[in-house]
Symmetry: C2
Subunit: 188 residues, 2 copies
Amino acid sequence: MDILVETSARHLHITQADLETLFGRDAKLTWKKDLSQPGQYACTERVDVVGPKGKFNMSILGPTRPATQVEISLTDARMMGITAPVRESGDLAGSPGAKLVGPAGEVELKEGVIVAKRHIHTSPEDAEALGVKDKEIVDVVINTMERALVFGDVVVRVHPNFRTSMHIDTDESNAAAAGGEVYSNIVK
Amino acid sequence: MDILVETSARHLHITQADLETLFGRDAKLTWKKDLSQPGQYACTERVDVVGPKGKFNMSILGPTRPATQVEISLTDARMMGITAPVRESGDLAGSPGAKLVGPAGEVELKEGVIVAKRHIHTSPEDAEALGVKDKEIVDVVINTMERALVFGDVVVRVHPNFRTSMHIDTDESNAAAAGGEVYSNIVK
């Protein structure tokens, strides 16, 4: 079974409280376009995420979440001067913070800046077809013309709402020359 | 046999003529520190390499060469707005150019901007021990804690002057979380 590879550029997820600090009282996220995972969408709202050495203007992905989380690549982390750990989404304890700057205010984020651990979203049905379980760590091959590789340390996440796809960051995508429509396969 | 992994950040090699255009008549490269390959060194001279969307200030690696060559990552290429191909060093035909800006002048480079193809430098003796030949394409495993992977499409370059090491760019290094002293092994 081929798994679509999707590249996640730097972005953030945000709490309703932080959204209101940055964009004003009663601010709401504005839908811009759907993402591949059902219910997830890119928003028109953007914020500056500021580190000791540099900043990036990043888009917010909705809906709002219980914790604000900034996802960057290790290349981004170096440019920003932030030592961000490779973590699964939501595993933020002890991660570094950053300053968020919006049109209505600023948030001094105490923690929440991570480099996303590469992962596969899949449904229970597809997980069975793939022969994998939730939280399983697998190897995944990407056979591009110029930069074929096998990613180890890929975590599988199974949920009825998930559409099967692999998410990697821009460093990983570039290391595989995985621009365009690229598919991967779990190595068994 | 373990192979030291070295990460090449964006840099350029330069002709004597371009060096003089950028730094003035009779300009010479100034040694700053030796690199792992014998005879190669980083220089104190730096230039801005300018693309349609952005620029980076890059260090020059000496000695001078028969052709000016800019080596960037695909992340850099995107930020600069340059569609750089993955190529072996010296294979510059049809590659894009960029503007080089130095303290004494500018060079409109017509071609020479590439993303270096990942490669292993090795001596004839080590090549024999590794069981590989010049120009062979091999798979190489890097077993980091968080981002283990196997790079395909790694080209072997054998020369009596080479010290055995693997060279990857910053995207590839980050995809493997290969900061610090990391070793790799050819997969046979």
